[in-house]
Every structure is written in C-alpha cells, then in structure tokens.
Amino acid sequence: MDITPWLKLLEDSSVATTIRNSAYLFPSLEAVHVIALSLMLGTITVVDLRLLGLASKGRSAGRVSSEVLTWTWIGFAVVALSGFTMFTTNARVYAHNTAFLIKLGLLAVAGVNMAIFHLTAERTIDRWDRTAAPPIGKAAAALSLMLWVAVVFAGRVVGFTTTGQQAKEQAPPAASATNFDDFLTGGASSAPPAAAAPAPAK
C-alpha cells in the first residue's frame, strides 16, 4: 500500500504548515522532545537499574517501578506527540529516512521487550520484590537500557540526514540539500528565519 498521499496530507495540514513557516516552532518542539525524553528515560533507568541489582537494591521493586510509572507514561505521551508533530512537517522525507525507520523499529522492539517483561518476570514480583530480579527480568532491563540508548542515537542521526531535504516531487534536491557544511561554518544560523525549506534540524 502506498501511504504517500497520507503523508502528503499530513504535510499539508495547517499545523505542519505553521511550523514550517516559523523559525522557532521546530526547535521548540525539539526542546520539548528532549525535556520529555529526559523524564521518560530517567524514570525507565531508575526501574532498569533496580531490576539489574545495580541501584535501589534494598527497596521494593514493585514500589520503585509503580511510583514512577505515571511519570514514564506522561513523558512518553509528550515525546510521542512532539515527535509525531515534527514528523508531519516533512513526512515524506522522514518516512524514507533510514535512521528514522531504524528508530521506529527499535521503539517497536522496546515495546515488545516491555510486554514480555510484564507477561513473565513481573507476574512473580511478589517472590522477588525485596531481593534480586529473576534472570529474565535482568535481561529485559539490560535490553531496555541498550535499546533506549540506540533510539537516542538513531533520533539524532535523523536530524543530520533529513535537514534541508524536501520530498522529490515537490522540488528536486539541490546540490546543497544537506546543509551540514552550513552547520560546520555556522552559516545555517544566519539563514533567513522564514526559509521555505523545512525547519533546520541539527
């Protein structure tokens, strides 16, 4: 199924258009994305380190995880919403970007990893609440930490490999499609604020 018309629809939405025409909305979304991911990853790490037996060893595993869970989900909701909104500004480019697709794949694996943990180790949490988590709980925690670090890396690469690019049918990519050289010389910062190209993301 070709989703290109749907992606085009997202790009043409008034929200996406407003963001593209603003010099400050896109970086603001990036900042919100980082603030919310700090909340999400910070609280996930607290739980993962308890499961791995590297921190909070004496505390109830159930309490450690349940009390931060709300904040993890609040963080996730804001990360997902800000991420999706950034996606709509240049949907067809992101949808064909390798780093972006890898990031989505990693997120899916992280979701499955979490589901497996809930269906296995967490079912028996009463038995290991005050002691070490079972091997499958530790494995899930280690995998979780590695996956989220990889997600951050992939996400940063998305910014570097999509900046200044436009969907092909709209305009052929110019020789300076990737403004990485601008980034190096600081030239991008002096670009006119209302540039027609998608907001610079570096």
């Binding site: 010099a23 400050y24 970086p27 603001s28 990036e30 900042a31 980082v34 603030i35 991911l37 700090s38 909340l39 990853l41 910070g42 609280t43 790490t45 607290v46 921190a55 909070s56 505390r59 109830s60 309490r63 009390e67 931060v68 904040w71 670090v149 951050v152 890396f153 940063r156 690469v157 910014g159 570097f160 990485f180 980034f183 190096l184 600081g186 991008a188 910062s189 002096s190 604020p193 610079p200 570096k202």
Partner: protein, 173 residues
C-alpha cells in the same frame, strides 16, 4: 571572544573533530542527550522527594546517596561532551546569546547541586525535621524543573540563534 573563537576554530583538535564530523558530531550530541536525560532524571527524582511526591519511604539522605552521584557524574559528562561540541565549532557557540544564557543557568544549577548536597550530608537531621516540610523548599524544588527546561530550550536554540549577531554587528559574517 570572537577572536578567541576564530583561533580555537583553527586549532588541530577542532579541525580533527570537523574532519570526522559526519559521525563524531552526532555521536557526541547523542551522548550529550543521554547525559541530559541522566542529569535531569536524577534531579527530578531528588526534587520530587523534596516535594514529597516520590520516594517518601526513603529519607532525603538516602535519596541523595542514590541519585546524587548520578547527577554529579552526568554533569561532568555534559561538561566534557559540551566542551567537545564547542571545540568543533566555537563561533557557533561564542557568538550566540542562547549559549551564554545557558551557561549562566548551568553554572547556577551546578552550584545549587553542590551546595544542596553538601548541606544535606552535613545537616541531614535538620533537613529531615525542620526544612523538608516547608512550603519554601517545595516551591524551590518545583522551580528547578523550570530552570532545567529553560537550559534544554536554550541549548537547542544555540543552533538557530541569530540574536547575538544583531547585538554584536560583524560577530557572525
């Protein structure tokens, strides 16, 4: 300051970072973001304990022993990766108002982090019995969230900021 930036830009380490920038800059930035998540995550857990919304089964001293080293360690990682990013492209930072505002707020928060931790380690009983429940300290803890958010905003805006070039004509050709 602009001359210093120009000089730094021409040094060998700066050139080295730029000549491998296709993978080095995104990698350093990614480590910087993970550092932000660690620092802000730890600061969040400590502030939430001060407010009394998280971890109230632990004393403030226990909470600081758990998250304080992560906060301090992450701040060092941020300083190191941030210094590398400045080194790779000094004019981008030194000519930018966002960068200097961010540095001022970072210095403020790092100072608070050190002073606060020392104070709790020395006077943990007084913190536990007399200070923790007060409204002032709870509001102060809430205020730290705003400052961390401002630091992240300013950090992101370094890449987009053109304010300083208007303040100092000729700073950014």
């Amino acid at each position: 300051m602009h001359n210093f930036a120009t000089w730094l830009y021409a040094t060998a380490p700066s050139l080295f970072l730029r000549s491998h920038s296709d993978w080095m800059i995104p990698t350093i930035q990614s480590v910087h973001i993970i550092g932000i998540a660690t620092a802000v995550g730890s600061a969040f857990m400590i502030a939430m304990r001060v407010i009394g919304w998280l971890g109230v089964d632990q004393t403030l001293l226990q909470t600081l022993r758990r998250y304080g080293p992560w906060l301090t360690g992450a701040l060092w990682v941020l300083l190191a990766t941030g210094a590398l990013l400045v080194l790779a492209e000094p004019t981008r930072e030194f000519d930018t108002l966002s960068f200097w505002l961010k540095m001022a707020l970072v210095a403020l928060m790092a100072t608070i982090a050190v002073v606060f931790q020392r104070s709790v380690f020395r006077h943990d009983q007084r913190w536990e019995t007399a200070i923790l429940g007060t409204a002032g300290v709870k509001w102060a803890a809430l205020a730290t969230f705003v400052v961390w958010a401002a630091i992240i905003f300013l950090g992101r805006f370094i890449a987009y900021d053109t304010v300083w070039s208007h303040v100092l004509p000729g700073a950014k050709a």
